[in-house]
């Protein structure tokens, strides 16, 4: 099924596309058919800067582990004081 389930959030920073970095301003997160991953559905993230992006497609357990890892890092005592 096409879920069309999509969220767009502001993002500030840079992304690397293999030959250079570019500034990014938003991230589009969705769960739908992937372009490449051998999955029926994937958690997809497009981090955009103007008209270029970096993209990842992960199975749901991987995406959940990634999200938990990000939150664990951000919630670390040594990190909290810096954010």
């Amino acid at each position: 099924m096409c879920t069309y389930v999509t969220t767009t959030t502001e993002a500030s920073g840079s992304a690397y596309r293999g030959d250079d970095w570019f500034r990014v301003d938003r991230a589009v997160v969705y769960f739908d058919h992937p372009q490449d991953a051998p999955l029926d559905h994937a958690l997809c993230i497009d981090v955009w800067g103007d008209r270029e992006r970096v993209a990842v497609e992960l199975d749901a357990p991987s995406a959940r582990r990634l999200a938990e890892s990000i939150l664990a890092i951000l919630d670390h005592d040594e990190v909290k004081v810096l954010t």
Binding site: Q35, D40, D46, R51
Partner: protein, 234 residues
Amino acid sequence: MSDAIVAQSTTIVGHGGDEIEAYEAHPLDGSGQPSVVVLHHMPGFDRATKEIVRTFAVYGYATLMPNLHHRYAPGAKAGDAAAAARDAGGVPDEQCLGDVRGAVDTLRARPESNGKVGVIGYCSGGRQTFLVACSLDVDAAVDCYGGRADIDLAPNLRCPLLGLFGVEDQSPSPADVAAMTSALEANGKTFDFHSYDDAGHAFFSVDRPSYRLDASKDGWKRIWDFFGTQLGGE
């Protein structure tokens, strides 16, 4: 008659007079050709769907697939254009209808055309196919597992409809297919729905784990029979 086909990228005039990319394939020669518009799935104007376009040409159909994501990233790869369309909020139905109208007009204007044009779409293209069949002057339509079809449009269906679904699909679910069946029956429409056991969404997709050989083979046979009858194909 030769069995050669021509397949190439081209440009058509779509919604609002915009020039958009399309992929065409048709028999190299022969007159009285039926035509088909192919509507790609959510991942876009990709290699696998272009292969479907060429398959229709091999079976004698002049075929066009408008790139519904073209405006969002002209010249980009299918995946980037699909992502750009999603980033922009998706393809509006009116824009889709305008682009398909352009494809239908282009096909009917070919001197080799027999005047008959069908439409087939997969996944999100299946939903759009139903929208087209309820909105434009086409002669036959095939909805391949299009979820979220607007059931309220059922009274407006203008042409015979073939629907191919998987019972393991969640959108359209068996309940969705049953509800559409009831709506079409209540409105006296001509349609033929088939739901395959052991198949879910995207069972025609040979490059995805959802591919199901038996459902795909039977589905293709039904497509050839249906378009053959409705469009005068092989």
